[in-house]
Amino acid sequence: MIEIAHVSKTYADTVVVRDVSLRIPRGGVTSIIGPNGAGKSTLLSLVSRLLPMTAGTVTVDGLDVTQTPSDILAKRLSILRQENRVTSRLTVRDLVEFGRYPYSKGRLTAEDRAHAARAIGFLGLEALADRYLDELSGGQRQRAYVAMVLCQDTDYALFDEPLNNLDMKHAVGMMKLLRRAADDLGKTVVLVLHDINFASCYSDTIIAMRDGAVLHHGTPQEIMTRDVIRDIYDMDVEIQDVRGYRISSYYI
């Protein structure tokens, strides 16, 4: 379980995460939604010790993320940030194999290589495995980063907008893959998503943030209502039931 207790983050005078308390249970897919600047990425960075928090504590299976040695945490929790600019010329395989670093410390075993090959396969990157990252398209690169995080094989995996740059087929493929990671492998997957329909169809829980605070927290059925969505986004949208899922046609 990820336990977030009274967490705040302040830059100079602006509070960007405001006294957030949450429990994200083990297993399942949790999506965080909310408008730009709501503090979603910041919260994910605080949970994954990429940023120091101003106040509060975060524990992962009882381990305080700011106290636990980083290399131990790296075997439990992984994160992919919203934007990743790797300037090094690494091949997809180099990158994905780095996901094994917490275990191998650079000496890859046959098992490590098998993990990497599997992750590359999951994301359909076999044909691109020996290409350099700077020779890939944006979506291909995004898939390579996700493969690296999957290769890290942690119980908890956080992805900040994993659908960035993906076409609709790969976006659906990505969501199904993450769903499978939760269902078949028992992973705990936490996502930041902008498409509320993806959040609705593939998550067990949705957390809605606005102005640095958690505004709503519930199942897709509870969150995907006209009132709640208006509350989060100041937008009036219709919500329909499609094959048992709640879908909003917010485009028009």
Binding site: L50, I79, N84, S88, D94, F98, Y132
Partner: protein, 320 residues
């Protein structure tokens, strides 16, 4: 692996040529048969061999230092001479020469390294404060910083009549390398091995703080390690043969194009090509004006800037 072996042979061939040419001749047969011609062994052991070794050690370690700096700054234009590192090392050496001239050479090197470390840390600090719009701003900041530090060094060198020494430190020249005066460069070699052992960590640091942290490593610690290696290597070179420009910039960029940036794979190539380039430049400098010598710094400046322009145009999409 096979290509690396071939490259090793190429370097050995260059080393052999480097041993054979020069103002007093050493013939191949005397080298191979160890025939005791008058003075040959003397020349070989006292000056020719040290010179060739110095070229290889300095070339490889300086190129590796450039590679490390490029990883740490995530910028392809950074090397010890575009980050204030080299100038700081000279200033440190000047300071210790003025204030404590009796310190043994290893001590002088350490003082120079400490200055280099401080100067490079200052450079990184400034980078954090300056909003960076283009990757080219980074080396410009470094060159300006280096210029200021260099001016301070010049001022004191001028006042205390040490201009000649300062010139020797800032312009690479291997013509005065003798046995007993280049051995410090082995420190650079040892540091290179150390960097190779930390290859994966350096690659990770090159991917940025967040990747490094996510994989359970302390980014600051890797940066500190890299900076110490770079500063020490720079100091050994400034102290023993004088700085060479462009080398740390060109070689890692060429290698990056050839084999990518995985440090484990790239570092042996960087070391090899660094040694090769310096050997070639030195040989050219020794033969074009025979029996006079053109200092390697000059040759390196010409060859380096030409190569750099080619790289800049070829990799325009990637670099800018």
């Amino acid at each position: 692996m096979k290509r690396l072996l071939l490259a090793t042979f190429a370097i050995l061939a260059l080393a052999l040529i480097s041993l054979l040419i020069g103002a007093s001749s050493v013939s191949l047969s005397s080298l191979l048969l160890f025939r005791e011609e008058q003075g040959t062994a003397q020349v070989l052991l006292a000056s020719r061999l040290p010179r060739t070794l110095a070229l290889i050690l300095a070339g490889s370690s300086l190129a590796v230092a450039g590679m490390i700096m490029q990883l740490l700054t995530q910028n392809r234009y950074v090397e010890p001479t575009t980050a204030g590192t080299a100038e700081s090392a000279s200033l440190g050496l000047l300071a210790v020469t003025l204030l404590a001239p009796d310190v043994p050479v290893i001590g002088k090197m350490l003082v120079a390294a400490a200055f280099a470390l401080a100067g490079t840390a200052l450079f990184l600090r400034i980078l954090k404060l300056v909003p960076l719009r283009s990757p080219l701003i980074v080396p410009l900041v470094g060159i300006v910083l280096g210029g200021i530090i260099g001016a301070v060094a010049n001022f004191f060198a001028y006042r205390f009549n040490l201009m000649q020494s300062l010139n020797a430190w800032t312009n690479g020249d291997f013509s005065s390398v003798l046995r007993g005066r280049y051995e410090l460069l082995w420190v650079g070699f040892a540091l290179m091995i150390l960097a190779y052992l930390a290859a994966d960590r350096l690659t990770l640091a090159g991917m940025g703080r967040d990747f490094t942290t996510n994989l359970g490593l302390k980014y600051r610690r890797i940066v500190a390690f890299g900076l110490v290696v770079v500063s020490m290597v720079t100091a050994t070179i400034v102290v023993s043969v004088g700085m060479m420009y462009f080398l740390g910039l060109i070689v890692p960029n060429v290698v990056s194009l050839l084999v990518g940036d995985s440090t484990r794979r790239a570092l042996p190539w960087v070391a090899m090509m660094g040694a090769g380039l310096v050997l070639v430049c030195d040989i050219v400098g020794r033969v074009v004006y025979y029996p006079y010598e053109i200092p390697i710094g000059t040759i390196m400046g010409i060859v380096g800037s030409a190569l750099f322009l080619i790289l800049l145009f070829k990799g325009r999409g990637r670099f800018a």
